[in-house]
């Protein structure tokens, strides 16, 4: 049942993503509302999947990286849906958000039983570490979508060539402020996440390559987001530069996740 729910959820996300993309490029109004419906169905299926997983294994989604990914992807969508409620024009961002969600969700599939978490790791800090990182990442995913849309829109305004998506993408200042707010929301989470992560690194002296690389990326992401915020305040960096910083920062956080997934999938030792 759990596997079937997983497949259904993934398929629904793929469908919603396709519809959002169609809405963005072609702009037919019906695809817009259908994509919302598909996404809604995916969320329902997703929640059911998480619940079934909880019943099956009895653990919360903060206990290992795969469950965390499944939980995280849900947070991303919920964050997007919440944002869309107050700003319906941001619906087109679904074309960027949904694929990210699907990617994160699929990450949860690379599951291999690594046995119980080793004792030193198992501390009260672990759920905190995972939870804050999930929340932070969900915020950054939204910032990422806004940044991508910003760069697309800015490019069109600069090249003075307007495709159909120009009509449907929101105004630059809206995208800029959504991106800023999302980074502002995610940054404290990431900070706590990086600090708690560093505590383990000190305690465990891990020597497996993907993990130390992951920590490196985690730090890099933190530095990038810090720079995005700091430079905006100090030097008025906004718009394109802020968007590029956000984009890179989010990719770094994805790299961290990738490190964990690779380790647990046993790909690299």
């Amino acid at each position: 049942v759990v596997i079937a729910l997983f497949a259904v959820t993934a398929a629904l996300y793929a469908l919603a993503g396709g519809l959002y993309a169609l809405f963005l490029w072609r702009g037919a109004a019906p695809t817009g509302s259908w994509s919302d419906r598909a996404l809604g169905a995916a969320v329902v299926s997703h929640v059911t999947f998480l619940f079934a997983g909880f019943v099956h294994s009895g653990t919360l989604p903060t206990s290992d990286i795969h469950q965390a990914l499944a939980g995280l992807s849900l947070l991303v969508v919920l964050g997007f849906l919440g944002t869309m409620r107050s700003r319906p024009r941001l619906r087109v961002l679904g074309a960027f958000i949904t694929p990210v969600t699907l990617l994160l969700f699929l990450g949860a599939a690379f599951r291999r039983d690594v046995g119980p978490v080793p004792d030193p790791v198992r501390s009260a800090l672990l759920p905190v570490h995972v939870a804050v990182n999930m929340l932070g990442l969900a915020a950054f995913a939204l910032a990422f979508a806004a940044a991508l849309a910003y760069l697309l829109q800015e490019r069109q305004l600069r090249k003075k060539r307007f495709g159909g998506i120009f009509e449907r993408l929101p105004a630059l200042d809206v995208l800029d402020s959504v991106g800023l707010k999302a980074v502002l929301a995610g940054f404290p989470m990431l900070t706590v996440g990086v600090v708690t992560g560093a505590l383990w690194a000190v305690r465990l002296h891990p020597d497996s390559f993907p993990l130390s690389a992951a920590q490196g990326f985690g730090l890099l992401a933190w530095i990038l987001f810090a720079a995005v915020l700091l430079l905006r305040v100090a030097a008025g960096w906004r718009g394109r530069r802020a968007a590029i910083g956000t984009l890179l920062g989010f990719l770094c956080t994805l790299a961290v996740l990738l490190g964990y997934v690779i380790r647990d999938a046993g790909g690299v030792q």
Partner: protein
Amino acid sequence: MSGPNLAVVGMSYRTSPIEVRERLAVSGEALEADLRKLAEEAALEETLLLSTCNRVEVYAGTSTAPEALERVRRWLARRAGRSIDAYVYEHRGEDAVRHAFRVAASLDSMVVGEPQILGQVKEAYAAAKSSGALGSLLDRCFNQAFAVAKRVRNETEVAAGSVSVSSIAGELAKKIFADLDGRRVLLIGAGEMGEQAAKHLRKSGAALYVVNRSREKAEAVAQEHGGHARTIEELEAELVLADVAIASTSSTRFVITPEMMRGVMRARRHRPLFLIDIAIPRDVDPRVGNMDNVFLYDVDDLEKVAQENLSARRREADKAERIVTLEVQAFEAWRRASAVTPTIVALRERVRGVLDGELQRTLPRLEGLGEPEKQALERMLDAMTSKLLHRAIAELKAGAERQEGEALLESARRLFDLDRAEASASPASDARDVAVDTGARAKQIPS
């Protein structure tokens, strides 16, 4: 003819000069009065009068098309005080429906996709409705026309993108700043086009500041558009505060240079600035356009956008025409089906009436019949009617799906002499409404 059909007589910007159209234009309260006069004088069963600055059109629902339309033409000519035959077009049946749909969807407009026409058609519809000139045919036709207009607006981009340079400036501004309310627009110089663009932005709620070499000129322009005047010395300071700047001076040198803008952008902490250079020769050094967060558009850029929007609209118009074609077919199917119903009802009544007449004549000669026996006879006549007409009615109904059905309907009405029987019963339009109603019930009787 099998029942009333639609027709339109009219003239538009395509076929007639403004001098003729303006004599025919009516609006507001005069519209309803004129409509009543028209319906009466031209003896139209249903009518709707659409009058805009680009067209004057009379839509009619009539069973006697050629004569009725001739009367409409004469009415128009009398009002125009001259012969109008050279300017008038006429569409009947399906073509008239198509015309109504295209007009409402703004496909026949001078600027395809302009939104005002739908409101004007709705006004004409409301006037016709309240003056009682609207029958079921025109009512249905125009309600569907509104639906077509909505579909075209939602499913195509016929109305997307401005085609005038000054409104494009406003449209682009809205892609940089979602809300222009409270934003600052700086008008540098006082070219005509610059003023137009500023006016557009002002309408969206932006505050206007005017800079000019001559203080008096700045104040005059500011006064006219409800803005604030500033001196040319304040240009840099104003550029720091502005969100949109429109340059249209007659200067032969660049008024805004990269050196100047570097300082300005730093001072404004890189808040985005939309720079529109409508001056010829240009006021803004084109290198300014490469700076981060500066979006520079000159006249050529805006013209290019206008041209692209125009051709995009034309492409979208093809899509819209396909929607119109589908909807016309839907309307015609409805019309044919609704023309069949009164015929079927009349056919049943005719046959049943004849049988009943014979029964009444025979009954006195039949002795010893009680109530039950009489009722049995009645039921027999009902059954005979149904069985006799079963095949004919099925064919008529099936015919409604096709165009040939109209000929079939015509034959049925002639063979059973239905038109005369109906005409003697009640006025045509009343009979029609009632007939549709009973027709719905008639369908429930197993036939």
